[in-house]
Amino acid sequence: MTATMPTSATPRAVGPIAPPIPENATIVVQNLSKWYGDVVAVSDVSFGVEPGVTALLGPNGAGKSTTLEMLTGLLKPSTGTIRVLGKPARGDVSLYRQVGLVPEQETIYPFLTGYEFVRLNAVLQKLPEPDAATTRALGLVELLPDAGRAVRGYSKGMRQRVRVAAALVHAPQVLLMDEPLNGTDPVQRAHMIELIRRLGREGRTVLVSSHVLHEVERFADRILVIARGKLAAAGDFHAIRDKIDEHARAVRLRCDDARRFAAALVQTPIVLAVRLEATPDGAQPGLVIETSDVRELYRLVPVVAQDQGIRLFEVAALDDSLASVFAYVVGR
């Protein structure tokens, strides 16, 4: 799958886009909009989601959760249609045998233990062996040792994992996860990412919302970028990342001789501009480098530093936050 991006003669094009719907799409969204009075939460979004892991990427408030809620039938769209596994997303409860949702909110029945909560979900799914399914699901998120404790005593990460277990207890074909890595520690996060990837490899359709670009890179094959309620990009993660990388980016650099480093860097064709940045403590000024190829710059910086005998203290991308990437993508 290739990336679909807004294209135009100017560096920044304007969304929204409407990528082609893949033939094997298990989720098909067409012309989806949701508004609340004058506030538009989601605007004319169309996309298809295939089996495997797809990330729904966007800054906070972009419309990700609203989109996920409409995909599960919790919210009625203002306009547009959604079909999940060939059925309308809303109105047919039999669909929920094959769909699981990990909601973003933390609230779980506090009086239940983790085991009871997951088992409740198994019973509500009418599984023939709810205990076996519960044990299996809790094992997947490595929560069995704490499953006998009341949920009210769980940490944020444990609550997140028990919600994932509850969503997986019936082994759904389609799994929708709203910010599933929130609140998890690095070890849990690595485990969760591996679990998401495994579910994708098993042929399930996993749609994961996130606002953290570098996290998404670790598990998603494809991404849907949503910003200000509009679909701004869709397709292969790396292709989109490469397209983003093609455009000017700013990198901050601190070293022990900023002026000499600036003079050396400005000779290279990928550096568009360099400016000195005063530091509050009066130490060596920092450098802000604008580049047309950030990857090449990252490769070049240590080489130049070594050649010039300059010590590097810090290299950081100024606009690597997702918000700035989205700002570029939607042409703000």
Partner: protein, 259 residues
């Protein structure tokens, strides 16, 4: 998906497979504030019975209990107690978003509503029956055995009230913002005040049917209920109200946005 085989931890009593939402709701009620509020409401008439015990002021026990039921329990205690449970049953789960765990399951919405309603009826009836029984006992004391007819009449009227008000307030909790406040205003303004004093209006109050059921079952000429309906029609009205309110609640749960 595969996972290592591990012995499940000790978890206490498992959720009932046949009525999981009913069981869940009972557990939610048992640890919540609502049940304590209902218990307090249920005990208020006993307080009055205790005062009567100290000074009967010329009233017989039957007269006192009849007045207490018709003037306090039926128009105020029953609706307020059931309001607490009825608005809590669905409203709280929608507010704290745990409702998501129920509605995203292959379960018909009417089934969710029916099991929730069953929990409201079970908890409400049990507590109010106990409260009424205690009030009856404190009022009658040594003559309790001769006044069992009053206990039966009041308890059956309480059941009718729990069915009618329970279904009505569950519907209100999904249809009206600030349902608890709306229910309190409805109870104090309509059931307690307007429907008692304006003859035509009482036909559209749950209280009138509850008091009619009480009066017809008691069947004591001394305690005739004004404009009382016959038992059959009164029961039918309560049943129809319950079915319509539950159907409305199910429809609302199926069509509303759960954000």
């Amino acid at each position: 998906m595969s996972a290592p085989a591990v012995t499940p931890p000790h978890t206490g009593r498992p959720i009932l497979a046949t009525l999981p939402i009913f069981d869940l709701s009972l557990r939610a009620f048992s640890g919540g504030k609502a049940i304590r509020v209902v218990a307090l409401f249920a005990l208020v008439p006993t307080l009055f019975a205790g005062i009567f015990w100290l000074d009967a002021a010329g009233q017989t026990s039957r007269e006192f209990l009849n007045d207490l039921f018709r003037e306090l329990i039926a128009p105020t205690i029953l609706p307020l107690a059931v309001l607490t449970l009825g608005t809590n049953a669905l409203g709280n789960e929608i507010e704290d978003r745990t409702m998501v765990y129920l509605v995203l399951k292959p379960i018909a919405r009417w089934r969710i509503v029916a099991e929730k309603f069953l929990a409201v009826v079970a908890v409400g009836t049990l507590l109010l029956w106990l409260g009424v029984a205690l009030t009856w006992f404190v009022t009658m004391r040594s003559s309790a055995g001769d006044n069992l007819d009053m206990l039966v009449a009041i308890e059956l009227a309480v059941l009718a009230a729990v069915l009618g008000y329970g279904s009505l307030f569950m519907a209100v909790s999904l249809l009206v913002p600030r349902a608890l406040l709306a229910g309190i205003i409805y109870t104090l303004l309509w059931e307690t005040t307007i429907a008692r004093f304006i003859p035509g209006v009482r036909l559209v109050s749950v209280r009138h049917y509850v008091v009619s059921i009480y009066g017809r079952i008691l069947d004591d000429p001394q305690f005739l209920v004004e404009q009382a309906m016959h038992l059959g029609p009164a029961v039918i009205v309560i049943v129809v109200l319950t079915v319509v309110a539950l159907a409305l609640t199910s429809w609302r749960l199926a069509t509303m946005n759960l954000e």
